[in-house]
Amino acid sequence: MEQVPKIPKEKFKLLHKKDNQAQESLGTPSLTYLQDVRRRLFSNKVATVCLILLGIMVLISVFAPVVAPHNPNTQRVEYSNLPPKIGNLDIPGFNGMQNMDGKSVDAYKAVNAPKDTYYILGTDYLGRDLLSRIIYGTRLSLIVAVLATLVDLIIGLPYGIVSGWKGGKVDTFLQRIIEIVSSVPNLVVVILMMIILKPGLVSIVIAIALTDWVTMARLIRAQTFQLKEQEYILAARTLGESSTKIATKHLIPNLSSTIIIQTMFTIPNAIFFEAFLSFIGIGIPAPNASLGTLLSDGQKAFRFLPYQMWAPALILSIIMIATNLLGDGLRDAFDPQSSD
């Protein structure tokens, strides 16, 4: 085919290789599954930004009493409906100027507020600081989110695992219950709750608790059905591993991606559900703030004081979009097939 290359003769000595373990070396660097997931997640810029945004929100909510400039429930009727103002900076929209009868008026001067009094996002119709109310409102939304997630994990996860693992009659029975639960709209549940309990965080959480775990339970059940036929599960059974140990050692780690992703979709649902209830007036009672009540209040004055609705609407949208996009990012990160 081609010219035989010139090669020194001594190179043609047999090395007499033996079957040794050097041949068993692994080429790739040792990376744990989670490291791999993290790398995939951070290479997704959108998801990373969402993660950072949500992280900041969580931090602010946790430290709300420190961060909030005012008490969210303190009413100062003399300072009602003041527009946003940041210090004495002259930023359009944040300089305390308000359009009145076609003229631009300094609303703070009009109510004789001292020079150092300002509200970054303005005040509402009772003179409460809007920024503080939004911070506390977000905090409440996130509490709802955490509780909903807990319910998912405490009820939905074991329910799904038991149903899928046991199969047969147990599964049929558990699935019938799920069908009944999911056939009742959660709005109906809330209204029924109100007959017994007062409107408030408790009744919202119970309503979510009663209905929200169903999706998680269904997903986990389907996954468990697939996993239990996997040979490593069979191997664990032949070794005599108990069912509980199989669940904690083998099932849950391999369900973790489903769990995390489903949680990322539970969170916006729960937050939106709370906001929706508060908006229609059967959620968080006054004077406590939630994003829903803020939207409801802001909506009443939207034509004249649009900032009262813009701010909470923006925050709610960011939370919803960020969790959804992060959920998408996590789904891709957990799926090794998606590596590109």
């Binding site: 068993e24 599954y33 069979l234 059974r237 032949t238 070794l239 005599g240 050692k249």
Partner: protein, 306 residues
């Protein structure tokens, strides 16, 4: 010949049905009986749907047999309860090696923990050091580098993973191992490695194997005796040489004739034998000894011919 050998596993009229009483009832294993002798390798061959894997899983009690007996060292284990002390003991005596090296190891566990699973369940190691040492020994035994203990399964090749699976089975020091198509998912060059390893370990530890496979070539090589399964029944059972040199059942003949041989001259002259279910299967047949040590699924009338 059979006299000097003691059976370790005796399967008597084993039936394993699924979806009993429903329209989709499946008789995966339908009344089979055989003995496996101590120290031998018993090959179980059949094509997909023949019930060979189900047989293995019933014997190791991944399923609850519909009826029949499974004696392990003379003791019926077909009805012992999960979580009973007897079951716990049995789980150490009998182990399994699985087919798919990619599905048989938990992807979220380190190799060390995978292999040590049996040790942990049965509290076979007193402390962490002893555990690590045992895992090291086991890795050495399957010719893997103990340094790879903290790696995850996906970093290994198919053959390496299969050896991890073997180490896991060996951890509890079993006497009897069911190898459920342990090499059919592996490349040819790797198959021989695994088969050699299994044979070495068998000699060292005086193990008995049941080797399940779908083709006869490797089974013929590794087994002492072979049972051929078809449609939930054992159609022929004899020594490996006998099955190969003197196949009596038409299905065995058909299986043998279909094995591809890496020799073009042989391939040119190959005559394929087709097997016709309707022609060769009827209700009056049962497994009977037609020649010493050679069992055939046939009617009484057919048996007289031999």
């Amino acid at each position: 010949m059979a006299d000097e050998k003691t059976p370790i596993v005796q399967v008597k009229h084993l039936k394993q049905y699924f979806n009993i009483g429903k329209a989709n009832e499946v008789k995966a294993v339908d009344d089979i009986s055989f003995d496996i002798y101590k120290g031998e390798t018993f090959g179980l061959v059949g094509e997909s749907g023949s019930g060979k894997s189900t047989t293995g899983r019933s014997i190791i009690r991944l399923y609850n047999p519909t009826s029949g007996q499974i004696l392990f060292e003379g003791d019926d284990i077909s009805k012992i309860k999960n979580r009973s002390p007897r079951m716990k003991q049995f789980r150490q005596q009998m182990q399994m090696i699985f087919q798919d090296p990619y599905a048989s190891l938990n992807p979220r566990m380190k190799v060390k923990d995978i292999i040590a699973e049996g040790l942990d369940i049965n509290n076979l190691s007193k402390n962490d050091d002893e555990r690590t040492q045992r895992v090291e020994e086991l890795l050495n035994m399957v010719h893997l580098n103990p340094e790879h203990m903290s790696r995850y399964p996906y970093e290994f090749s198919g053959g390496q993973r299969q050896r991890i699976g073997i180490a896991r089975a060996l951890a509890v020091d079993p006497q009897f191992i069911i190898a459920d198509e342990p090499i059919s998912a592996l490349d040819v060059s790797i198959q021989a490695q695994v088969v050699n390893l299994l044979q070495d370990i068998q000699k060292q530890r005086n193990l008995t194997y049941m080797f399940i496979a779908h083709d006869l070539s490797m089974v013929k090589y590794i087994s002492d005796r072979i049972a051929v399964m078809y449609s939930g029944k054992i159609v022929e059972l004899a020594s490996a040489d006998e099955i190969y040199n003197n196949p009596l059942h038409p299905y065995t003949q058909s299986l043998l004739s279909a094995i591809p041989v890496p020799d073009p001259e042989v391939e040119k002259t190959r005559e394929r034998i087709d097997f016709d279910h309707k022609k060769h299967f009827s209700d009056d047949q049962r497994l009977q000894e037609v020649q010493p040590g050679h069992f055939l699924y046939c009617s009484d009338e057919q048996a007289k011919k031999y």
